[in-house]
């Protein structure tokens, strides 16, 4: 059985004036011990997907339809307490932006202890502090006393990210959702942090969804990769296959522009702009930017085709009867 299975998830954001149709029938699976990558340019909806899994979207976000099966139960249908328990003890999430993910007006200690109080409610109160220290040491923050007594803005970006990882570890006993854990960090620290996450996941026997722009790291750390474009999964493949032989035109473009990804803003290497989620393109959402687009791409949503074992691609070029190319 899959640990996590997301089926046909649709998520919108609503503002005063518009509805943004972001996630568009997203499906994804993670089985026990799986390390899965999720790549796609900025704004493709990766964070939205991870937040939807834990149902921690901001108030503007709505899950419109779909299922989030956690160990076989649909989290969108069960009681709040069940979901809370999953959040506390089973799934941990590393937020993308280390600056924004810690409350600026509370000490690290205060926030950490509140988390441990709920994720480790079976422990004694007095144990929580030593537990926090232990977790901080495990993310290579040896000066635990100083870190705990600090406010977030007194720590460097790298330290803050490590604190967030430590917090996520407190709740993650089965699955770790790592959302671009290295953006906004120094290039030198990026590698360290990713390697650290890799080690921790192995040591603790966690499954993981890793979102990252550092494609090299994704290649090293994951078995399987999902490629996301404009709120849709366009391709799924074993990691090595994906990089050696991408099928979807978007995947190829993404990989080709990879060297530039590390330094400059994502998406620059690919011609055209990401779509406007208020009025998403009809048919295949990629068709306005796709060099191979034909008439059908504008009209019909490409089905998810299993090209070979464990390889799926949502593109008319590969669907039967459509031919194309």
């Amino acid at each position: 059985m899959n640990l996590l299975e997301v089926r046909n998830l649709r998520v919108n954001y609503r503002s005063y004036w518009y509805t943004y149709h972001v996630l568009n029938d997203v499906s994804l699976q993670v089985s026990q011990g799986d390390k899965v990558g999720l790549i796609g340019e900025s704004g493709s909806g990766k964070t939205t997907l991870l937040k939807s899994i834990l149902q921690i979207l901001p108030p503007q976000g709505r899950i419109v339809s779909g299922e989030v099966l956690w160990k076989g139960t649909d989290l969108l249908k069960v009681s709040k307490d069940y979901v809370t328990n999953v959040r506390r003890k089973e799934v941990g999430m590393i937020f993308q932006d280390p600056l924004g993910a810690l409350n600026p007006v509370f000490k690290v200690k205060e926030q950490f202890l509140d988390i441990l109080r709920h994720s480790h409610s079976d422990h004694d109160k007095s144990d929580h502090l030593s537990l926090a220290e232990e977790l901080l040491r495990s993310v290579m923050l040896p000066d635990t006393a100083r870190v705990l007594e600090s406010y977030p803005f007194q720590l460097s970006g790298g330290m803050r990210q490590r604190v967030i990882i430590a917090m996520a570890l407190a709740s993650a006993r089965d699955l770790l959702l790592a959302d671009e854990p290295t953006t906004n960090l120094d290039v030198t620290i990026q590698d360290q942090i990713l390697r650290l996450i890799g080690e921790l996941v192995v040591k603790r026997g966690l499954s993981m969804i890793l979102v990252s722009h550092a494609l090299g790291m994704v290649a090293k750390m994951t078995h399987r990769v999902y490629v996301m474009y404009a709120g849709s999964i366009v391709e799924e493949a074993p990691t090595l296959k994906l990089f050696s032989e991408p099928l979807h035109p978007y995947t190829s473009m993404l990989i080709e522009s990879a060297p530039r990804l590390a330094s400059t803003r994502l998406g620059e290497g690919i011609k055209g702009n990401p779509p406007d989620y208020r009025y998403p393109p009809s048919g295949c959402r990629f068709h306005p930017r796709c060099p191979y687009a034909t008439g059908i791409c504008k009209e019909v949503r490409p089905p998810n085709v299993e090209v070979s074992k464990h390889r799926y691609v949502a593109c008319h070029m590969y669907s039967e009867g459509a031919g194309g190319g």
Partner: protein, 351 residues
């Protein structure tokens, strides 16, 4: 010698002191402006104050006394010298030193100010928290309507309405004054009648004083309080979608703790500056409310001085209000310093 110098240097380095000094300087500038406006423009201030039929030699005597026949810069200089000795010149109307008048009237205004600050806090915080909890719910909409009503009716409008309804129609509260005649005898200690009546252990007097306080206090602060509730609400709603709150949620922390701790504190920090500024501005609105409610405070005194063009009294009251303003702003800064670690730790790091 070096030590005292270092001491003053360290005081000057203190942000609050520095800011307050700067404001004080602006205040002096303002006093100069009013001083000049009052003397340069046509019209005889003494005749305006004392009436047109005053004999010429009396006017001349007043002129002499007030240095009005000296050149302008000397007049200002004399006035400034007086100010440094905590004297504000002689009032044309009461013939006493303005500072003595103000000392008499100030406690009543202070009491009103404190009461309205308390009222703001007990109204704005709960309303803001309640309406931010469920945006769009009945409670939220009711508070939104209230906020519009609050902002559209000026303070003097509120005073009139409250007097009409609660004093004249319902007869629940006294319309004017500070205390009923029968309690006039309570010994004066602090000058704040709520506290004085408690000190003397006279509970009926205390209740009487509270009843008198109610209409002017509410009139002064209801509009602002509801506005602040809306600002607090907006802050709460903004913070709810921040990653630092979602992060807490992702760990399964109860919604109650998230809302009343992790959302509330940054939101309160955001509303404190507005609140401080609003409380400080009540000194201004007190001019009208004190007059309408016949509240024997400094603002009503200032109002009368203005109507009779009693120059020294006007400038004196404006100066004292400016100082109150600075004090309230400094208190706001100190509160922010105490509750916002970002300010506190940054500034400690600087010095």
């Amino acid at each position: 010698m070096g030590k005292t110098k270092a001491f003053f240097k360290s005081i000057y380095k203190n942000v609050f002191v520095r800011r307050a000094l700067r404001s004080l300087l602006s205040l002096l500038g303002l006093s100069l402006l009013i001083f000049i406006l009052a003397r340069v423009l046509p019209g005889d201030p003494i005749k305006t104050a004392l009436g047109p039929d005053i004999p010429e030699e009396v006017v001349e005597r007043y002129r002499e006394m007030l240095n009005l026949n000296k050149p302008l810069y000397l007049q200002y200089f004399y006035w400034l010298m007086d100010v440094f000795q905590l004297k504000l010149g002689r009032s044309l109307v009461t013939i006493r030193d303005v500072s003595a008048d103000i000392t008499d009237f100030f406690p009543a205004t202070l009491e009103l100010l404190l009461a309205s600050a308390v009222f703001r806090i007990i109204v704005a915080f709960p309303l803001g928290v309640l309406s931010g909890r469920k945006p769009g719910a009945t409670m939220d909409n009711a508070i939104r309507v209230l906020a519009y009503v609050g902002i559209c009716i000026p303070t003097f409008g509120w005073a009139i309405i409250l007097q009409l309804v609660f004093a004249y129609w319902l007869n629940w509260l006294p319309a004017i004054g500070r205390i009923s005649e029968e309690f006039m005898g309570i010994p004066k200690v602090t000058g704040l009648m709520t506290i004085d009546s408690l000190i003397s252990g006279n509970v009926p007097a205390f209740i009487d004083v509270l009843k008198h306080l109610l209409i002017p206090t509410v009139a002064l602060s209801i509009g602002g309080a509801v506005q602040e509730a809306r600002i607090l609400r907006a802050g709460m709603i903004e913070n709810i979608s921040r990653d630092y709150v979602l992060n807490m949620k992702s760990h399964g922390i109860p919604e109650r703790i998230i809302y009343f701790k992790y959302v509330l504190k940054p939101s309160i920090i955001a509303v404190v500056p507005t609140m401080g500024l609003d409380v400080a501005s009540t000194v201004g609105n007190a001019f009208l409310v004190e007059s309408i409610c016949n509240w024997p405070g400094m603002s009503r005194y200032g109002m009368m001085a203005m109507l009779r063009k009693d120059l020294n009294a006007i400038v004196g009251v404006v100066l004292v209000i400016g100082i109150v303003y600075i004090v309230i702003n400094t208190i706001t800064d100190i509160i922010l310093y105490a509750i916002d670690p970002r300010i506190r730790l940054k500034e400690r790091g600087e010095s």
